[in-house]
Amino acid sequence: MAGMITIAAIDDDRMLLAGLRAWLGPVDGIELTATAATVDEYLDAGPAPADVVLLDLNLRDGSTPAANVARLLDIGAAVLVVSTIPDAEHVLATIEAGAAGYVTKDNDLPALVSAIREVATGGTAVSPELAFVLSTDRRPERPRLSAQESLVLRVYASGATLQATARRAGVAYGTAREYLERIKRKYTDAGRPTRTKLDLVERAREDRLELDGLGPSS
């Protein structure tokens, strides 16, 4: 990989940020350029845009995970959500909000680096833990998956390698990979109408502020 990938990390655990810096230090091609405790703090610093932002799922400043993802996407970063525990409700919300991937903090360095590289090149990072959350999604509004997609998702969620998943589902390696990406895309698409609606509300509010005193715009 020729280009250097810049990453930022937002986590309210200082010790963890320090550890991450030490961890990623020796890794070639990845540079941690900024750390912050909250999304506000990160955005206020007016950062040189990082390629990938590692975002802690549950920040203690009371912000909503999905809204955090949306704000970071607005500045053009790809968002990789990380957390200690896969809290299904919020993980699903961040994926629907457009996060590129999700990993738990117990992953080893190679797994984290490979997820970062994947996300930086515009790909998605479907970790086994994300696959597990998606495969056990029982909400009525969950995106509809084909039988093959469900099978690939379930096998991959059990911790099998993508290669083993493809064999067990009886599809080619590339197809299994494509299925996982398609599933992830379905979730992102399912979240889009909500996102657009939120955007509109936001836009309208900004418009009102600009037209302060002239009455609501229509």
Partner: protein, 416 residues
């Protein structure tokens, strides 16, 4: 390449009671047994009630019979039907409503015809064959039916009797007295039978309800006890692992970058993570706690185990939890012995809402190690006995999937 482990005859386990409990009277069964007792008693009464008439006729009552052929037909019909009725009731251990309805019809018709078969002045005497069986019918109706239906049938029988004997009533006062006496007996026996049998049925229902309540209370207590036991076990495990590790680190003197320290911290973190499911309630879920503990104990042998649980039913039977846990531990032992890998994934999910009738719990134990060719190697002793054997004992199934270089997945499903 897949291999389905041969299972013994599967089927969900049934609670096994000590032999004497099965034979002892089960209070929950009381209404059925009481009903059978009432039905049996009345059936015997009915058979007994067809005996007096031929005896009376033999002893001289035939002098009161005007049309012997009609009296014979009436008695024959009523006797035949009474035997059929008693057979039905004995076989069903209850009185079917339709049989009761026919019975009332037969008894009423026979009352009319038997009265007409006698000389008018003798219709209220023993020459009338239909009176005794009709009393049995009234008693049966009072026992089988609720108040209004049994009162109506009693009234119908009294009317039928009256219309059979009405020609004689103008002839003598004794006929009047006999008629009133017979009707009083007919209705009186029915009232007593109704009161007794309904009282018995109420008692039986109350005793069954009490037994149900007791059983529910026992089940509640058992589930509370098992939750308490699970909590105690978890506290002990947390004490021996996470708390000890943190205390040792806080005391200082340990190098946190020492691989052994890091390995232990990672194992503890994996244990905590395993206790929390990504979906559904995880507090006090026994299977989930057991799986997390199994993962933690395997970590001591150098295997990192990632446990993911979702929607596990909280009320799996104790032997099932134990069987699944043991089979899972054995599968992880196989990972350590054969896979050459250092990580394993355990996932446990509850019933799939889209396939009702499927397993209530499905576990997978997956590694990314060297795998094997199931067609060439076949199941080892550990797989055959410790995994498949345990699963079939609890009515579940085990299934292995592997391929050289692609790791191995063991899937455990309960019930099969």
């Amino acid at each position: 390449m897949t291999y389905r482990a041969p299972g013994r005859q599967p089927g969900p386990p049934r609670p096994s009671w000590p032999a004497h409990v099965g034979r002892a009277a089960d209070p929950a069964d009381a209404p059925r047994r009481t009903q059978a007792l009432i039905a049996r008693t009345i059936a015997v009464l009915r058979i007994a009630q067809v005996i007096p008439w031929p005896v009376a006729v033999a002893l001289g009552s035939q002098n009161g019979i005007q049309h012997l052929w009609l009296a014979g037909i009436v008695y024959g019909t009523q006797t035949g039907w009474s035997l059929v009725w008693a057979t039905i009731v004995l076989a069903r251990r209850a009185i079917p409503s339709w049989a009761m309805l026919i019975d009332v019809g037969v008894a009423a018709s026979c009352l009319v015809l038997a009265g007409l078969a006698c000389y008018p002045q003798d219709a209220t005497s023993w020459a009338n064959s239909a009176v005794a069986p009709a009393m049995g019918t009234a008693v049966a109706a009072a026992a089988a039916w609720p108040l209004i239906a049994s009162a109506a049938s009693g009234l119908l029988l009294a009317l039928a009797y009256t219309s059979g004997v009405i020609r004689g009533l103008t002839l003598s006062d004794t006929a009047w007295a006999a008629t009133v006496g017979n009707i009083t007996s007919l209705l009186g026996f029915a009232v007593i039978a109704g009161l007794v049998s309904h009282h018995l049925m109420r008692q039986a229902a109350a005793s069954a309800a009490a037994a149900d309540e007791l059983a529910a209370a026992r089940a509640r207590r058992a589930s509370e006890e098992s939750r308490d036991a699970e909590r105690t076990r978890q506290y002990r495990m947390l004490h021996d692992t996470v708390l000890s590790t943190l205390s040792a680190l806080a005391r200082g003197g340990l190098d946190p970058s020492d691989p052994l320290v890091r390995q232990r911290c990672a194992a503890d973190a994996d244990y905590l993570r395993g206790l929390i499911s990504s979906g559904g309630a995880s507090v006090d879920n026994q299977l989930q706690g057991e799986l997390a503990a199994v993962g933690r104990s395997q970590a001591a042998l150098g295997l990192r185990v990632h446990v993911h649980c979702a929607d596990l039913p909280p009320d799996l039977p104790e032997p099932v939890v134990r069987g699944l846990t043991d089979a899972c531990r054995e599968a992880l032992n196989n990972v350590i012995k054969h896979s050459g890998g250092s990580q394993a994934w355990v996932t446990a999910v509850g019933p799939d809402p889209h396939s009702p009738g499927g397993p209530l719990a499905t576990l997978t134990i997956t590694d990314r190690g060297r795998g094997f060719d199931p067609a060439r190697i076949g199941p080892g002793l550990g797989m055959r006995e410790s995994i498949s054997g345990r699963m079939s004992e609890i009515g579940g199934a085990a299934h292995v999937d592997s391929s050289p270089g692609q790791g191995t997945t063991v899937e455990l499903a309960w019930p099969a």
